[in-house]
Symmetry: C2
């Protein structure tokens, strides 16, 4: 039997997916499972995007340009201009999702053994992309007690080594929903200049900001144009995860020429996703007004409900559609599995993501879970009721 790579053996299983078999078994027992574990929105994709795909009139589905269809990139540059981000089509490389775009970025700036600093908890698949690229993630602890604000700069500086090449932030944040302020990003700007690092910002939740807060992009930071890499995606913005369209953006010409070589090796991004994504740029503003209103109500349902549960705490995040909550539990992995294999309230249960999977440091997040508020308000209210009842009887309850 030929061998499996070390890379393959150390590749983590997704914290979101490892409970899937238990959810399936619960469903087989006739239990309704509320899925609060995934980032798959239930919001409709804008009709304008679906229509463009249905109207495809080509006769041959050809390779597109390796960096993406030029007309799409041009229109995308105009989208960013609306967000006060001044870039041209040449500063964009379209990827098969933000996933591929981030891999292009990692590969272009880091070699095996190089290091990227990421505040934890962080999007679990960053670990996968790091292992894929042979690079090392250095986590910096951000605490639920500050609502997962940016850790002090001193903590970053302590973690910088000669192999450190980049800092990666997700803003608004998955899994915490935290929205970094202009001031926090300014401190990162100073750090990036001082150590000549790349600043990679995953801003796929840009549109999802609440309570009147504005998103401040890493592209707004002045004087570090050659250091900044923006990672983006249409998956969440237009509820179009299956289109697999994301992008990597930078004003650093040498970097983009390098990334293009990785893009050329795989020939092109998906054609239909690009057609849909290009059309989606004309989505009426009303769509976002409605979507944001919906998510705001959902967030309020979750945050209020959890903070009323004895021994539980949930910050009130300003962005994305996730919260990380602290619950009175011994072990979030055990609790989330128990919810599926040993508990039901009136034939219903909830599926949550154990927060441990979002921490790189072993042992952290054991009393925390990530909740995606991607269900309608009624289902969310019912889910919170189920969670409340579960906490009352969970054998591993801590207080």
């Amino acid at each position: 039997m030929p061998s499996i790579s070390k890379k393959g053996r150390t590749m983590p299983e997704s914290p979101i997916r490892k409970l899937v078999p238990f959810a399936d078994m619960a469903k087989q027992r006739g239990i309704k499972v509320y899925h609060l574990n995934i980032g798959q929105p239930d919001i409709k994709t804008p009709e304008i995007a679906l229509e463009a795909i249905r109207n495809f009139s080509g006769k041959v589905i050809e390779y597109s340009h390796s960096a993406g269809i030029p007309s799409y990139r041009k229109k995308l540059a105009a989208y960013y201009k609306k967000h006060n981000i001044n870039i041209t089509a040449d500063d964009i490389i379209i990827g098969a999702g933000a996933s591929e775009a981030l891999l292009f970025a990692f590969q272009s700036i880091m070699d095996p053994g190089d290091e990227v600093i990421i505040p934890e908890p962080f999007y679990a698949n960053y670990n996968g992309f790091a292992i894929n690229s042979g690079i090392v993630v250095t986590p910096i602890f951000s605490s639920i007690d500050t609502g997962f604000a940016l850790p002090p700069i001193a903590d970053f500086e302590k973690s910088i080594t000669p192999r450190t090449k980049a800092i990666l932030v997700c803003n608004p944040n998955n899994p915490t929903g935290y929205l970094y302020s202009k001031e926090e990003l300014e401190t990162l700007r100073q750090l990036v200049i001082k150590y000549d690092l790349y600043l990679i910002a995953d801003e796929v939740y840009r549109e999802f900001c609440y309570d009147g807060h504005q998103h401040y992009s890493c592209m707004h930071l002045e004087g570090i144009e050659n250091n900044v890499i923006l990672i983006d995606s249409v998956s969440k913005r237009y509820s179009a995860c299956g289109m697999r369209i994301g992008c990597m953006i930078s004003k650093n010409k040498e970097l983009m020429q390098t990334a293009l070589k990785f893009a050329q090796a795989r020939l092109s991004p998906p054609t239909f996703g690009q057609i849909g994504a290009e059309a989606a740029i004309d989505t009426p503003d009303l769509y976002f007004t409605e979507v944001l209103h919906e998510y705001l109500m959902r967030r309020n349902v979750v945050v209020e409900a959890i903070n009323k549960m004895p021994g539980s705490f949930c910050p009130n995040p300003k962005g994305a559609f996730y919260v990380v909550a602290r619950l009175p539990i011994d072990d979030s992995d055990r609790f989330c599995q128990w919810l599926l294999d040993s508990f039901d309230f009136e034939k219903q249960t909830v599926m949550l993501a154990p927060a441990s999977g979002f921490y790189s440091t072993k042992g952290r997040g054991k009393d925390e879970v990530r909740i995606s508020y991607v269900l309608n308000v009624n289902d969310l209210k019912q889910s919170m009721k189920v969670l409340e009842e579960a906490l009352k009887v969970y054998p591993g309850r801590t207080n």
Copy 2:
């Protein structure tokens, strides 16, 4: 200015794309350029595939299963059964093109510094995927004088080291069009057993076999089920390169579980490509009969024309839609550029791919070019006339 990775600096530019600026300039001078440099077929995508995409009636473009839509994989297994390849849906992971599928395979079986043996000339992007994965390509020379038949097994054995993990063959071959025989594959089978290596077979041109020859798949080799990895794609089969749908297939359960972790990290393959690819499986046989008849005529035009040019030689390959031809030229890179920037015949010229880019060993392929016969017969005849005239006056002609 932060640094670019070594990986990024050593990433090769595509041999197919580096001449594009010269082609653009030729077109600006009013010269018609016949594109024989790329693998983008002019054949129509089956209507049944386009229709399925146009008929998409979903309201949300959701993530699909990380391994690919289950109904698509099930139907794909039935497609393979028709080709006497017995697999189930669980043996398949769908990728964004064969490119991503091959990256999954490389990552799952090799760590940085590990080696894969590939007969050269080979598909140039294998180099890119190897650099991406930090692995080393060990080329084995296959000669135009044998029509690019499989090199002697002794040559493989000489190249095997403790770091050798796999042998990769493309069958039918890009760039040579060579179709490996059952006997040749049997010798690889012996080798794979003897050294417990993986055998990766890129069979994306399976349908394109001529002169009554049958394709023999690596999946037909008995007793090495755990060693064989099949890489496939719908790009060429259905002339649907932009769908970005390929797959990785293996009976090795441990390998597939590992590859799935890489697939999960990037969430899912493109939805619309999968919808089109699933529908395309019902493409009527007549489509392939017509396409094969068309390619056969094209191949004959190219092979006959080149073998009539003094000092030139072209094997008569049995598969794919490429030939590698030997021309009386000093340097194929120089020649291919000269065709675009210094030559025209009645305001026409041809764009070819220098074969040097398909050899890993420096200096090889200097008098060879790859020709993709992806134009209609009339255009191909005209292209061959242009090439003939070009060779008469090329300043670097060698005999």
